[in-house]
């Protein structure tokens, strides 16, 4: 479980849980609710270098596909391979078993571009 209250959030509705030199990422509870039943998740390959704010995964509901953007730049160090057989975990536990990937932080300062839990809650409510 990656405590939502200490996670950082992107405007594109990903969360990031920073732990030392890497961060775990997933999509927010708000996002999973909007996307509805997740039936497929396409994850980046381990070793791929991703950039903050650039698409690196895809999450799909029955009706549509949504890009997932990396909250940090860096190398993908691990992915949640179990989502392949359990996409429903994204809905059931977006901050737990439904995590997407871990990224090694190339630019830790990028956290300044993300929102706190309170800021994100406000962002969802007001769009600001």
């Amino acid at each position: 479980m990656f405590n939502p209250e200490i996670c950082l959030y992107a405007k594109s509705h990903e969360w990031a849980h920073v732990d030392g030199e890497s961060a775990t990422a997933g999509i927010s509870d708000h996002a999973q609710h909007e996307i509805t039943d997740v039936v497929y998740v396409e994850l980046p390959q381990v070793g791929r270098v991703v950039e903050q704010g650039k698409p690196c995964a895809v999450v799909e509901s029955v009706k549509a596909a949504f890009d997932v953007y990396s909250p940090f730049s860096g190398e993908i160090s691990e992915v949640n391979a179990e989502l392949a057989s359990h996409p429903e975990w994204v809905n059931q536990a977006p901050h737990g078993q439904g995590w997407f990937f871990k990224v090694r932080l190339a630019k830790p300062g990028e956290k300044e571009n993300l929102m706190s839990f309170e800021q994100y809650r406000e962002f969802i409510k007001t769009g600001k």
Partner: protein
């Protein structure tokens, strides 16, 4: 946006409303997977009030309907319905419809929402030579579909007489002091019923269905589940899988064309197409690995592009990606090797499969393609 008379009910029940061809309708309530599963395993109820109704009556109503329909309307007497295609002179499909015989010389045609105006114009144009009255009634009627193996148990409580209807049977019943047409038809591949009632009486009828259906596991369903259910069952979505440019033969619906019933619009063109051989046809694909195909995604045999998917989705029942699309020389399709669908820039392996993707467990005569 237009709203159906059940709009308030949808809002109350937490429906997620979307714009569907100008209609504000629920795409889902509890979730597409749950709703889909309920219809396959118990039952679900759909608001399909956007669909159109046209009454056709008069001395030559049958002659008129025979002229514009590919299926044989003379085979249905009072209390029976038939699925049919309306064709243009080139054999292209103007619409796919269900024609019901209410009584001798009196018919009800249920048409698609987006094509209602086009169909009414088509009807009127071709009715001129017949003693037949064409009466569009979509504005006055609402329509609901109750689908799934437990539907009959629900109908038994509300309309005991209608519970005994055979597949494609139709009966006039009373609800809220008004007439309601109850038919054993649907668009899900399961047993089920459809109700066509005047706008004023539909909200109460719908609430009754929901209330009496609870014990049978009924859930309110949206258009999302309707689409996955119908695609699994091999039903066409007009405008997406078939249209004015595609014939029923190309769509794999040759069984709705009755060659021996006498002349009808489009017959000659179809005969020509039949004798020349099909140049293209609709085939089914399923993905071999995970991934979700979508309409308009291109598909391939090796490096050769075969076409674009017309309809495609994740199949909740089969738990894999499925889709249909047109290919040239469809007869050769079953032997295609190395088939793939381009998904997000990656070719996902697939194979050609016979349609439909899913058939409900046989119960009596209720096979998809058998109409009594």
């Amino acid at each position: 946006m237009k709203r159906t008379v059940l709009y308030e009910e949808h809002v109350k029940m937490g429906g997620r409303l979307v714009d569907f061809h100008g209609w504000e309708l629920p795409v889902q309530f509890s979730g597409i997977l749950e709703e889909h599963g309920a219809v396959r395993g118990a039952c679900g109820v759909f608001d399909v009030s956007h669909m159109g109704q046209v009454f056709v009556s008069g001395q030559e109503a049958l002659g008129f309907l025979q002229k514009i329909n590919s299926n044989d309307v003379s085979k249905i007497g009072p209390g029976k319905a038939v699925y049919s295609h309306l064709l243009n002179e080139n054999g292209g499909v103007v619409d796919d419809v269900i024609v019901s015989c209410l009584e001798s010389r009196s018919y009800l045609v249920v048409v698609n929402a987006a094509t209602t105006e086009k169909d009414v114009a088509w009807f009127k144009r071709h009715a001129s030579g017949f003693k037949a009255a064409v009466e569009p009634a979509s504005e006055r009627y609402a329509m609901v579909a109750l689908q799934g193996p437990r539907s009959e148990a629900v109908v038994r409580r509300l309309f005991p007489e209608a519970a005994a209807l055979p597949r494609f049977g139709i009966k006039t019943q009373q609800a809220e002091g008004r007439e309601v047409f109850v038919s054993r038809t649907g668009y899900t591949g399961e047993d089920g019923f459809e109700f066509i009632a005047p706008n004023e009486s539909m909200p109460a009828l719908y609430r009754n269905l929901v209330e009496h259906g609870k014990k049978e596991g009924l859930v309110p369903c949206g258009l999302g589940a309707r689409d996955t259910l119908r695609l699994e069952a091999g039903y066409l979505l007009y405008g997406q899988d078939v249209d004015d440019e595609h014939t029923p033969l190309e769509a794999g619906y040759g069984w709705v064309v009755k060659w021996n019933k006498g002349d009808f619009i489009g017959r000659e063109a179809l005969l020509r197409q039949k004798s020349e051989g099909l140049k293209r046809g609709l085939i089914g694909l399923e993905l071999l690995d995970r991934g979700v195909p979508r309409p308009s995604y291109p598909f391939f045999q090796g490096s050769r592009r075969l076409g674009e998917l017309a309809s495609a989705t994740f199949s909740p029942t089969l738990k894999k990606g499925i889709g249909v699309g047109y290919v040239d020389r469809p007869g050769e399709a079953p032997a295609f090797k190395d088939v793939s669908v381009l998904i997000h820039g990656r070719k996902a392996p697939a194979r050609v499969v016979p349609l439909p993707f899913y058939k409900t467990a046989a119960k009596g005569e209720r096979s998809l393609y058998v109409q009594s």
